[in-house]
Each structure stands twice: as structure tokens, then as C-alpha cells.
């Protein structure tokens, strides 16, 4: 046994030498916060990896670590990648922000890409995110058009700016159709606990909402909506399989194009530090087909999507009042990215109190 291990050690050493010497392929590495089987956030990032791999073929070699806890473990995982010959490392959760920057300082030759953060302490760190709120606005338009009750249910995960931004965009979209539209919010305090999301959906339906949207990952709410005969929106991926007669549309996280582009730049030697916040226009946010709605609603949704895509319209355009009625944006004024990134207040029409 011992001899066998020794032999393996030699083999492995030779192996790692081998990869170092024949360094033809660029190595791209990914760190996920959840299991790739969550069918949500981490799953979609992994789909992005697969797309990138398919697009670049032999030029790229990939590796990933899943379920890496935010905290002390993240720094080790990132450093391990940096040391194991990765040329570019994608860290795909907000909680990896400080560890990413810390490790980046130690490995100036490796490129780092951190999702949803704002710190770029070193020239080899980029940040990226998607404008999911653009999709939320379209959802709001659809919800208000279809809703008889004039109130929507929103199953939220955790009160962070990203989620608050989504709620606000949804409300604004809805109010563009029906100025009195209301949203009920329930915080599940989890990213994936399908049972709890199902419970939250049921509670909302019992309180009279007739459509449901969610930034939480699982398809549970979609299934509950199907059972209770109301409509719902999907999240992260196209969930039409879980609600063929329920899903109106879904906001699909589409990371593939971005990953392909960035890795390509590393291969070509043209990678530069950047802060990319891509939306519908860049193809980072894709709406699943509009289904289960009358043609006029579908048409309005498509028009709204087209206007956002072309840049003709921005969801956060004044006049917009905050929840307490005070003015936030004047007529024609648009919100800047910094405000959106740190958004911590509701607009008028949200039936909830934000934890301060």
C-alpha cells in the first residue's frame, strides 16, 4: 500500500510538472457559494462555465469549487486556485469580496473577477454584475396588467440592495400600468429552502395576492402557484417545466457571454480591469418566452423589453417618490449606478417596512 502511495506521489508530481511545462491552455477557475445542484444562482454560473468551455474549446481548461462557505474558507479556496496555475478566477458571490481582493494583492499575475461587489483594490481585480432589475420592471408591467386584485406577492431572500432594487423596479413597472398597485413582501431569510418558499407562497396567496415573484432560487413557489391556480414568475433559469400553465416569464441569469468574453481577453492578452454591469442589452439578462397571457399583455411586455434593451428607457426614471412620499427622483432624472448598488429604501407602494 505504502509503495503504491509513493508511486502515486511521484506520478502526481510529474503530472503537475507536466501541466506547468505544457502550458498551452489558459486555465479559468470558478468558486460557487452553493452546490451546482441548487438549480438557481450557482447552477446558472456553472451553466455559464459550460457555455464558455463550449465556445472556447481547447484553448481553455477549467476547474471549480462548489459550496465554498463565505468566511475564512473563501480566502483559502481562492488562494488555492491562484497557486494551482489558474490564469483567471471568478468568485461568484458577494461574500467573497474581501478575500478576493486580499488574494489578488498577493498574486498580481492572476486575474480576478468578483461578482456583485464594488471593491477593486488591485489592478488585477474586476467586478461584474447583471441588471436583473430591468427584468423585474417588465415583470411588474405584466403583473399589473393581469392582476385583478391589484396586489402582488414577493418572496424575498435577504434584505440586500440587490433584492431591494428588484422589489422597487417591480413596483415601478406595475405602477406604470396601475398607479395604485401594491406589493406584499415576505422575507424567507434563506436562499434555498424549497419548503419555506412554498410556505411563503401559500401565505401570500391566502392573503389575496394573485401573482407571485421571487428572487429566491427554488421552483417551489412556481409549483404552489400552479396548485392554487394563479400565475407566477420564474427566477434564475427558465422554469417553464415546473409550471407550463403558470409561468408568465422568467429572468434568466445568462453569464455565458460574459465569461466567454473575459476568458477570451485573457487568452489574447487584452484583459483589463473593468466594472461591468450588463443588462438586457448585453445579453446578461434574458427574459424567458412570455407565456400564459393575452396577446395585448404580451405585446406590451415585449415593447417594454425592447425599449429597455435599446436604452431608450431606464426603469429608474423620475418622477419617483420614496415610500414615505418624499421625492427621490425629479421628472426625467435617472438614478446613477452607485445609488442603485447601495439601494436601501423602498419606493411608494411597497407594503413592507425595510429593516434599517
Amino acid at each position: 500500500m505504502k509503495r503504491k502511495i509513493l508511486r502515486a506521489a511521484v506520478a502526481a508530481a510529474a503530472l503537475s510538472f507536466g501541466t506547468m511545462a505544457a502550458d498551452a491552455a489558459t486555465k479559468a477557475c470558478f468558486i460557487y457559494v452553493g452546490p451546482i445542484g441548487d438549480f438557481g444562482w450557482s447552477y446558472q454560473h456553472h451553466q455559464g462555465l459550460e457555455q464558455m468551455k463550449a465556445a472556447l474549446g481547447d484553448q481553455v481548461e477549467t476547474a471549480y469549487l462548489e459550496s465554498v462557505p463565505e468566511g475564512a474558507d473563501a480566502e483559502r479556496a481562492i488562494e488555492r486556485f491562484a497557486r494551482s496555475g489558474c490564469n483567471i478566477v471568478f468568485t461568484t458571490s458577494f461574500g467573497y469580496m474581501d478575500p478576493t481582493n486580499k488574494v489578488a494583492g498577493k498574486f498580481p499575475d492572476v486575474k480576478f473577477e468578483h461578482a456583485t461587489g464594488y471593491k477593486r483594490d488591485h489592478p488585477n481585480v474586476s467586478t461584474y454584475n447583471s441588471r436583473f432589475y430591468e427584468g423585474r420592471y417588465v415583470q411588474g408591467v405584466i403583473a399589473a396588467k393581469l392582476s385583478k386584485a391589484g396586489v402582488a406577492g414577493y418572496i424575498a431572500s435577504f434584505p440586500i440592495p440587490e433584492v431591494v432594487m428588484g422589489i422597487n423596479a417591480f413596483v415601478l413597472g406595475a405602477q406604470s400600468v396601475n398607479p395604485d398597485f401594491k406589493v406584499k413582501v415576505v422575507w424567507a431569510n434563506t436562499w434555498f429552502d424549497p419548503g419555506k418558499e412554498a410556505d411563503a407562497a401559500k401565505a401570500l396567496i391566502d392573503q389575496g395576492v394573485d401573482n407571485i415573484t421571487q428572487p429566491t432560487d427554488s421552483t417551489a413557489a412556481m409549483q404552489v402557484a400552479t396548485e392554487r391556480g394563479i400565475k407566477a414568475f420564474g427566477q434564475a433559469s427558465d422554469m417553464i417545466k415546473f409550471g407550463p400553465e403558470t409561468q408568465l416569464t422568467s429572468i434568466v441569469d445568462n453569464w455565458g457571454p460574459y465569461y466567454t468574453e473575459q476568458v477570451k481577453e485573457v487568452i489574447d492578452g487584452t484583459w483589463k480591469q473593468s466594472d461591468i454591469w450588463g443588462g438586457m442589452k448585453e445579453g446578461h439578462v434574458v427574459m424567458a418566452p412570455y407565456t400564459n397571457m393575452p396577446d395585448d399583455v404580451k405585446k406590451l411586455a415585449e415593447e417594454t423589453e425592447a425599449k429597455i434593451k435599446s436604452g431608450e428607457f431606464k426603469p429608474f426614471t423620475g418622477p419617483i417618490a420614496k415610500q414615505d412620499g418624499s421625492e427621490w427622483l425629479k421628472e426625467g432624472e435617472t438614478a446613477d449606478d452607485a445609488t442603485l448598488l447601495g439601494m436601501n429604501f423602498y419606493v411608494k407602494g411597497v407594503d413592507d417596512k425595510l429593516p434599517q
Binding site: D199, K202, A203, D206, Q207, T219, A220
Partner: protein
């Protein structure tokens, strides 16, 4: 609407009840199996996979029960035959179950599952207010109630039940009386595993018909807590499971009404309520002493 809320509570409570009733029998026999979460998640993945491939949710439920029982045998072999520490072995079982279920379920991710259809008795189910609550729920809901009834009857009204309890109270004297302590404990452990497997299948076939890694999300631990909470009495397990379900659902309703209390505080209410009720119950020292299996968690080796 009121009926809907009650049904929601029943759905939330049923998996906890099934798993806890199984664990209650295990603990009454003097064995502490902390691996409920692991057995439950194995049941969830098995139930989902078998139902998906065969198209029959009942076959899924059956397979989940079998796998739960087999998986618990691993725990049984270590703790009963090799007398390893029960706490550590149970924790290791949870670790193994979470890993193994993830491996087995990799190809099930993102596939809609098969939902077990709810009961429908023409006439009865359509009664106003109580029809669906009493006669229109999923079949496993009724199984859970029967299970509670059956275990209560078995433990306190039958001879084998008395034997099982006597082992839990004092395995040495039970052994001296010629009772096969280890054999009966094996059966109890397997019953607990079967129940945990069934509870897991409830999650992936009724509650939320889908497979997601770690989808039990801590429910196995809640089930364990409920057993102690109920001071090892079956009907109190039922009361506890429904109380826990009611507080969980109630806090979501409170949020939807927009009462403006931090959601973290509301989310912690079920746990605080459990502690509070437990304190109230356990103030009666004599009553708790009677019900607690005195040999719980202690190793047993028959001497010859």
C-alpha cells in the same frame, strides 16, 4: 382562506411529525440517533428518483422507506454491534447522507417531480369549511396521523411496547430478564430510519415535488428537538409538530400583513417558542423523569 391556512400548517407539520415519531421509538428503546437529517435526505432523493423513473409516487414512497431503513442499519451496526458513541455516529451518518444524496441526485436537478395526488371523496371532500381539511389532503397526511396513533397504542397498550420501553429504561435488567436487547434495538433503529425516509419522501413528493441538494434544510434537527420537546410522548409530538408549523406559517402571515417587525426576529419565534414550552413542561420534574428513557444514549454490551 382559513381552511387553506390550516392545510398549509398541516403540510409543514407532517414531515416533522413522521420523522419525529420514528425517532421517538428509537429513543424509547434507549438509542439516540442524531442522523435523522441524513436519513431524511436519503429518503427524499430516493423517493424522487424512483417516482420519476417509474412514474409512480407510491413506488417512490416505498423505496424511500426501504432506503431509510437500510441506511439506518449502518448506524445500527456501529452503535449496537460495535458500541461506538451514538452522538458522533449519528452526526457522521448525517454527513454521509448529505454527501451521498447529492451524488445520487445529480441527474435529478432541474426536473419537475411527480406530485402525489390528494385524496378526493365525492361529497365529503366538497363539504364547506372542513371538507378539504378532513377529507381532501394528501394520503401521507393520514398516514402520519395513523402512525402517531399506532405508535402510541404500541408503546403503551401492548406487551412488545412495554418490552421496548423497559429496554430504554434499563437495558441491564431487561437483558437479565432474557430480553434480546440488541435485536429489539436494531428493529427500533430501522423503524426510525424507515420513518425518516418516509418523511424525506414527503418533502420531495408532496411538499415540494422536486429534488434540490440539502432540501431537508434542517428539518431533521427540528424533528429531533420535537421528540425531547414532547417528553417522548407520541401525541405531544403531534401537538409539537403542529405548534411549530403554526408558528412558522404564522410568522409568514405576519410579514405579509406588513407589521414591520424585523423578519429575523419573526423567523426565530418557532425556536424561542419551543424552548419556552419545554421549560413550562419540564418544570414538573416528576413527570419528565417518568417519561425520559433512562438508558438514552448509553452504550450496552451484554455480559456473559
Amino acid at each position: 382562506m382559513f381552511e387553506d391556512i390550516l392545510i398549509t400548517i398541516a403540510t409543514a407539520a407532517t414531515p416533522l411529525l413522521i420523522a419525529a415519531i420514528g425517532e421517538l421509538v428509537v429513543e424509547r428503546s434507549g438509542v439516540l440517533n442524531l442522523g435523522v437529517e441524513g436519513m431524511m435526505v436519503m429518503g427524499a432523493v430516493t423517493g424522487f428518483g424512483v417516482a420519476l423513473t417509474t412514474g409512480s409516487p407510491w413506488l417512490g414512497v416505498f423505496a424511500a422507506i426501504v432506503v431509510g431503513a437500510l441506511f439506518s442499519l449502518l448506524f445500527g451496526f456501529l452503535t449496537l454491534t460495535l458500541v461506538t458513541n451514538q452522538v458522533a455516529t449519528g452526526l457522521a451518518l448525517t454527513l454521509l447522507g448529505l454527501g451521498l444524496s447529492g451524488m445520487l441526485g445529480e441527474s435529478f436537478v432541474g426536473q419537475p417531480g411527480i406530485k402525489m395526488t390528494a385524496l378526493h371523496i365525492p361529497g365529503l371532500t366538497d363539504l364547506p369549511f372542513v371538507g378539504r381539511l378532513l377529507f381532501g389532503q394528501d394520503p401521507l397526511f393520514y398516514v402520519s396521523i395513523l402512525l402517531t396513533f399506532g405508535v402510541a397504542w404500541f408503546l403503551f397498550r401492548t406487551r412488545p411496547g412495554l418490552t421496548l420501553r423497559s429496554i430504554g429504561d434499563n437495558h441491564n435488567s431487561a437483558h437479565a430478564l432474557g430480553i434480546n436487547v440488541i435485536g429489539i434495538r436494531y428493529l427500533a433503529v430501522m423503524f426510525g430510519g424507515a420513518c425518516a425516509g418516509l418523511a424525506g419522501a414527503y418533502l420531495s413528493l408532496v411538499y415540494t415535488p422536486q429534488w434540490i441538494e440539502n432540501m431537508t434544510a434542517g428539518r431533521g434537527w427540528i424533528a429531533l428537538a420535537l421528540v425531547v420537546f414532547a417528553s417522548w410522548r407520541p401525541w405531544r409530538v403531534l401537538a409539537g409538530a403542529y405548534l411549530f408549523g403554526a408558528v412558522t406559517i404564522g410568522q409568514l402571515h405576519a410579514q405579509a400583513l406588513g407589521i414591520g417587525v424585523p423578519s429575523q426576529l419573526l423567523s426565530s419565534l418557532p425556536y424561542l417558542a419551543t424552548v419556552l414550552v419545554l421549560v413550562l413542561i419540564s418544570r414538573n420534574r416528576r413527570l419528565t423523569m417518568i417519561n425520559t428513557p433512562a438508558s438514552l444514549g448509553r452504550p450496552f454490551v451484554p455480559d456473559r
